[in-house]
Every structure is written in structure tokens, then in C-alpha cells.
């Protein structure tokens, strides 16, 4: 793809970063309020770490493939 075009990885990065932020925020609220959803292994607080992972991955892609950079 030409470098002037926005890479698909940028779109993916943006979406994952937003998803990660939303899910991790929810997880943090759960953690702070001690009101976990009624799911198995809720004590592991998956929304916090899984949302965090998604967010970090998304930020990585969004920054690495941001418009104007030549990375593909």
C-alpha cells in the first residue's frame, strides 16, 4: 500500500484501543466497587487484564501505523 494511505493496522489499533479502554474501565469499576458480574472466575478480574492487553495492543498498532508513517 502506498505510504500516503492509512494502513488497516491503524484502524484495527484504534478499535482495539477503544475496546480495551472501555473494558478495562469497566473492570476497574468492578474492582473498586467490589460488585463483580455473575460469571465464573470473576475473582480473576478478566476485564481488567484482558481489556488492558487489548488497549496496549491497540495503542501499539495505532501509533506504529499512524497516518504519515511509512510502516505497513
Amino acid at each position: 500500500m502506498h505510504s500516503s494511505r492509512v494502513s488497516i493496522w491503524f484502524f484495527i489499533g484504534i478499535l482495539l484501543a477503544v475496546y480495551g479502554a472501555l473494558i478495562a474501565s469497566y473492570g476497574c469499576i468492578e474492582l473498586a466497587t467490589k460488585h463483580s458480574a455473575h460469571v465464573v472466575l470473576a475473582n480473576l478480574h478478566a476485564p481488567v487484564w484482558w481489556g488492558g492487553l487489548l488497549g496496549i495492543l491497540g495503542l501499539f498498532y495505532a501509533i506504529k501505523f499512524r497516518p504519515g508513517r511509512s510502516g505497513k
Partner: protein, 594 residues
């Protein structure tokens, strides 16, 4: 999802009516955070479509994505086009019912064919610069073979798209309680918009996005499942205890090959020869190497090396898919519980009725999501299912658009128009394809019995096409007439065998070579016979005809083509190195789970 059906048309574990037979109560209740996540997905795909519209002004851009996709993007799109939501749920259900045998459809039923496409067949597709698989048939065999292949592909693609659309709307209704019309209209409008705007590039971008979402949304389920069971060994211990106590039906749920010595030794009623030659060769190669839906993604690669690497990259991810599909189904055997804490038993769809309180095998994946995923994560999981459906439909209509424009409209209706005209035809073909799909969806809604026939119809064309393409690609002597007759008689053979068993089920013992064979074995052997017949007819007719001059076969046939020399690269960028790694992992996995 679409990918499921060409493959599964011949080998799908459950019929579509069976797949959509869920219990009456919605399984999942979404919260506002889940709805927000789903809405953001729709916004993103439309944004991508509008953004890419500016880059889809020529036919090469619109139909072939400018042939500028990197190996990674083409590879992920290649495997993603086959990774649909109905497939995810159906094979998870099959894993719950049959155990790890279902993994064959991801490993021996995919990996050898994908590597064969990349390393052996792709150079010919790529070098001849064809726009489609029917286009290759035109170059190799002439107009007759192309018209047969193009018309059958175009017709069946939109028909399957509609069937899938209806099935997915049904799934959304029973899993989420969504209205059928809402699901059909919203999803099809979104697909029509982004494919008509951005063409194949938009479809590919969204397939890569969908791929990431599926992993992001579904990967957590097996991870938490393994934590709960104490890992793979813990799972096996609990499963053995359940079987010993009679809580779980007896059977070998964790080995791939041990029970395939005889048809009667496994619940699928399959013999290893059917798996290896029927699934691993006839069905798998037919789908992965000649179905234009998937091949189109690789043809969009930016170089021959990328085109060869793309299926190899895809093969690694395909090998990993059982982790998010088969493993949750297996884990469901030991972790799913009724509200009273007893072990939940999923049942066949014929036993599920409103008020029964029972769930069918196909609900295992949504049930596992509900078990582990908190708000937000659940929305992401559901988004993955929706994304799988939409990208499958996008794959259908983008392939239909290309075949309609290049292989039907251009050669048969308007031959010498300007490039802009064909782009416009492609955009309208996309819209038309979606409209026909919607019409098919509503047709099926009123007569669900036709769904199985549509699936069977698609299977009739895939395997014979493989036989003809292989003969044409690797035998210089194959003639134009042989290609046409090989394809036609191969298709008729497949239809004839299907009709024989349909009219007289006892004929299964002859088609599948055993009185103990079951429907899935019939599909495999039928595909195998139709490939062999199409190859035999091509061979015999060629021997009585005049071969084309070798000079005319440059770029089309092995032995008559001088492939372009590729620049030397470090070993870690070499396609042969990664093919060897993929083969080693494939063999190791099969030995480990033998």
C-alpha cells in the same frame, strides 16, 4: 462464515436447520456496554468503507484491491474469509458431540491444501494475471469451461450468502432475542455499503479486522476454561471421571486418529481413508485451491512471493483456530452446569423444544461465553460473531461481483467498454448480490427445507473443479474440450451420487464403501469420486483431441511456464522455510493428539 459452507456443504457437522434450532429463551442479555461495543464495530466498518472509496476508482483497484496487499494482510484475509460465526458455533458443537475428531476439518482438512496452493499452484494463478478462477479456466480451456464455472459460482455464491444471512439472523434471534428483519436489514445494508464503496480492498480490510476481533473476543473463553479445569491434563482427568461415572457418554474425545480404523469405531462413522483422501484431498483442495472466494484474497497480493507466503501465513492461524473453537466445545463437556449445579447435558436439536430447558450442541460456544465473559467482554464476543457473519457475506458479494463482471458481463454482454463502466457494473453487482441474498434469506424463511439442498448444490461444483484445474495446471496434453467435459461430467457425477443416496439410503454402503458409514463419510467419498471422474474424463477426452501448442501454455501449465526469478531473501523471509515449519508443526500436532 461463508467459508464454512463451500467446505461444509460437503462436510458440515450439522445441517443449517439443525444449527439454528436453539431453545426458546435468549441465551445472552446484553448490557449497555455490550451494545456500545457492537455499535462501535458497525461505525468502524462503515468508516473503512467510506475511506477506501477514494482508492477504488479503477477495475484493478475495485476487483483486485490494486494487487497491493502484503503477505500478512492477504494471508489473514485468506483464512478469515473461512472463519465465520456459524462455523465457530457449529464446530464447537461438533467438538462437544464428537470430541477432538472435529479438529480434522482444521488440520488435515485445510493445512496441506493451503500449503499446496501457496507453494505449487499460486505461481500459475499469479503469473497468468487472471482476475478469477473461472478466468484461469478461460485461459487454459477456453470459454466453455469458464462459462460453466462462472455461472455456477455466481449463482451459488449469492444463494449461499442469503442462506447464511437467514441462518445468522436466526442465531441472533435466539442468542440475543433480536428481530429477524432487524438482523437481516442492518447487517446486509452495512455489508452492501462498505463493499460497494471500497470493493475488494474494503472487504479484505474488514476481514483482517474481523480476524483480530474473533481472537480478541473468543480467546479468553478457552483460557479461562483451562484455568477452571486445571489445564489440559486437568480437563482430561475430569472428563475421564465423568465418563467413568456415566455422566458423560463413553467415547474417545481426545484423540484424532485412534478411532478411525473402522467406520463403526467412531461417532462420525468415518474411516481414515475418507478423512485423508476425501477430506484432506478432494474437499479441502477443492475449497482452498479453486474456490474463488478464498483464492481472490491471495490474488490481491503485491508480489509473487507475497502471494505464495499468504496461504502459508494463513496456515499457522488455521492450525491455531481449534484453540478457540474445538477447545471450548471440549471444555463444555466438563464445566457447563445447570442452575442446580449438576452437569449440563447438551442434546441434539430434535430434543430441544420451548420450555424443555434443554440446550442444543450448537449453543455450547454462546453458553461458554455467558459462563466466563463479563459485560464488555461479552459484547466483544458477540461482536466477533457478528463480524464473522458480515465478513463472510462481504466475501461472497465481492467474489460474486468480480466473477459477474469479469467472467459473465464482460465476455458475454458488453465486451469493450471503458474501465469506469466495469467498475460501475461491479458496484451495482455488489448491491444486486446483496439484494438477491436478502431475497434468498426471506425465501428460506418461508421454506427452511431448501437450506440443505442449497448446501448440497454448492458441494456439487467444488470438487469437480479441482480435478479439471489440476489436470490443466499439471498436464500439458489436456485439451480445451477435455476441460469442459471433465467439469460437466464431474458435476453430474456428484449430483448423481447424491441423488442415488437420497433416493435409496442403502446406496451409502457403495458410495462410502461401508454399511457402517454415516452421512459425513458419504460427503467425503462423493467428493473424492467426483474429482477422480473429472480427472479421468479430462484424461480420456484429451487423448482423443489435439493438444494446444506449448507456447500457448506459458504462464498456465507446469513445464511450459518459466516462473519469474525471485530476489534472494534471508531464510526467515523465505516461503519454503515457513512451509517447512508449518509442515513440522502440523505433523507434531497430529502425533501429539494421535
Amino acid at each position: 462464515m461463508q467459508g464454512l459452507f463451500p467446505l461444509a456443504a460437503a462436510s458440515w457437522p450439522h445441517s443449517l436447520p439443525a444449527l439454528i434450532a436453539f431453545s426458546a429463551e435468549p441465551l445472552v442479555h446484553l448490557r449497555s456496554l455490550d451494545i456500545l461495543i457492537i455499535t462501535l464495530y458497525f461505525a468502524m466498518v462503515l468508516w473503512i468503507g467510506f475511506y477506501l472509496k477514494r482508492q477504488s476508482n479503477t477495475s484493478e483497484d475495485f476487483f483486485m484491491a490494486g494487487r497491493e496487499m502484503t503477505a500478512w494482510i492477504a494471508g489473514l484475509s485468506f483464512v478469515s474469509a473461512n472463519l465465520g460465526s456459524l462455523e465457530l458455533m457449529g464446530w464447537a458443537g461438533a467438538a462437544y458431540q464428537y470430541g477432538i475428531l472435529a479438529t480434522h476439518w482444521y488440520w488435515v482438512g485445510a493445512i496441506p491444501a493451503m500449503l499446496f496452493l501457496g507453494m505449487v499452484m499460486m505461481p500459475f494463478y499469479y503469473v497468468c494475471k487472471t482476475h478469477s478462477v473461472p478466468g484461469y479456466l478461460k485461459l487454459r480451456y477456453g470459454e466453455g469451461a469458464r462459462v460453466v464455472a462462472a455461472c455456477s459460482f455466481a449463482f451459488m455464491t449469492v444463494l449461499m450468502s442469503g442462506v447464511n444471512m437467514f441462518a445468522m439472523a436466526e442465531v441472533m434471534k435466539v442468542v440475543l432475542g433480536w428481530d429477524l428483519n432487524f438482523s437481516i436489514i442492518v447487517s446486509s445494508l452495512a455489508v452492501a455499503a462498505y463493499v460497494a464503496l471500497g470493493g475488494l480492498r474494503s472487504a479484505i480490510f474488514n476481514e483482517v479486522l474481523q480476524f483480530m476481533l474473533i481472537w480478541g473476543g473468543a480467546l479468553l473463553v478457552p483460557i479461562l476454561g483451562l484455568i477452571e479445569t486445571g489445564g489440559w491434563s486437568g480437563f482430561k482427568a475430569r472428563l475421564e471421571a465423568n465418563i467413568a461415572s456415566g455422566a458423560t457418554p463413553a467415547g474417545d474425545y481426545t484423540h484424532l486418529w485412534r478411532s478411525l480404523g473402522h467406520f463403526a469405531d467412531n461417532p462420525m462413522g468415518i474411516h481414515w481413508t475418507g478423512i485423508v483422501f476425501g477430506l484432506g484431498f478432494a474437499i479441502s483442495c477443492g475449497y482452498w485451491t479453486t474456490d474463488f472466494l478464498v483464492v481472490q484474497r491471495v490474488l490481491a497480493a503485491n508480489s509473487l512471493r507475497s502471494a505464495r507466503l499468504a496461504p502459508v501465513i494463513g496456515s499457522f492461524f488455521k492450525m491455531a483456530v481449534p484453540f478457540i473453537v474445538i477447545l471450548p466445545g471440549l471444555l463444555g463437556l466438563v464445566v457447563l452446569q445447570n442452575p442446580d449445579g449438576s452437569l449440563m447435558h447438551l442434546v441434539g436439536q430434535n430434543l430441544v423444544s420451548p420450555g424443555s430447558g434443554l440446550h442444543s450442541y450448537n449453543e455450547v460456544l454462546p453458553l461458554m461465553m455467558v459462563r466466563y465473559l463479563a459485560p464488555g467482554l461479552l459484547g466483544l464476543g458477540i461482536t466477533a460473531l457478528i463480524a464473522g457473519f458480515m465478513s463472510g457475506m462481504a466475501g461472497n458479494v465481492s467474489a460474486f461481483s468480480a466473477v459477474w463482471t469479469y467472467d459473465i458481463y464482460q465476455p458475454l454482454i458488453v465486451k469493450n467498454a471503458r474501465d469506469e463502466h466495469y467498475v460501475s457494473v461491479g458496484r451495482w453487482a455488489t448491491v444486486l448480490g446483496v439484494i438477491v441474498s436478502i431475497g434468498t434469506a426471506y425465501l428460506v424463511m418461508n421454506a427452511q427445507g431448501i437450506m440443505d439442498y442449497v448446501q448440497a448444490l454448492f458441494s456439487f461444483f467444488i470438487s469437480p473443479l479441482l480435478g479439471v484445474v489440476l489436470m490443466g495446471m499439471f498436464w500439458k496434453r489436456a485439451t480445451r474440450a477435455a476441460g469442459f467435459w471433465g467439469l460437466l461430467i464431474g458435476i453430474l457425477t456428484s449430483i448423481g451420487l447424491w441423488a442415488w443416496v437420497y433416493i435409496n439410503p442403502a446406496a451409502l454402503r457403495y458410495v462410502a464403501l461401508s454399511p457402517d458409514a454415516k452421512a459425513m463419510a458419504e460427503n467425503m467419498y462423493r467428493a473424492l469420486w467426483s474429482v477422480l471422474v473429472s480427472m479421468l474424463v479430462t484424461l480420456v477426452v484429451s487423448l482423443f483431441g489435439k493438444a494446444r501448442p506449448v507456447a500457448e501454455l506459458d504462464g498456465l501449465v507446469y513445464g511450459a511456464t518459466k516462473l519469474p526469478t525471485e530476489e534472494p531473501v534471508p531464510f526467515y523471509q523465505n516461503e519454503w522455510f515457513w512451509t517447512a515449519v508449518a509442515i513440522a508443526i502440523f505433523v507434531a500436532l497430529n502425533i501429539y493428539f494421535w
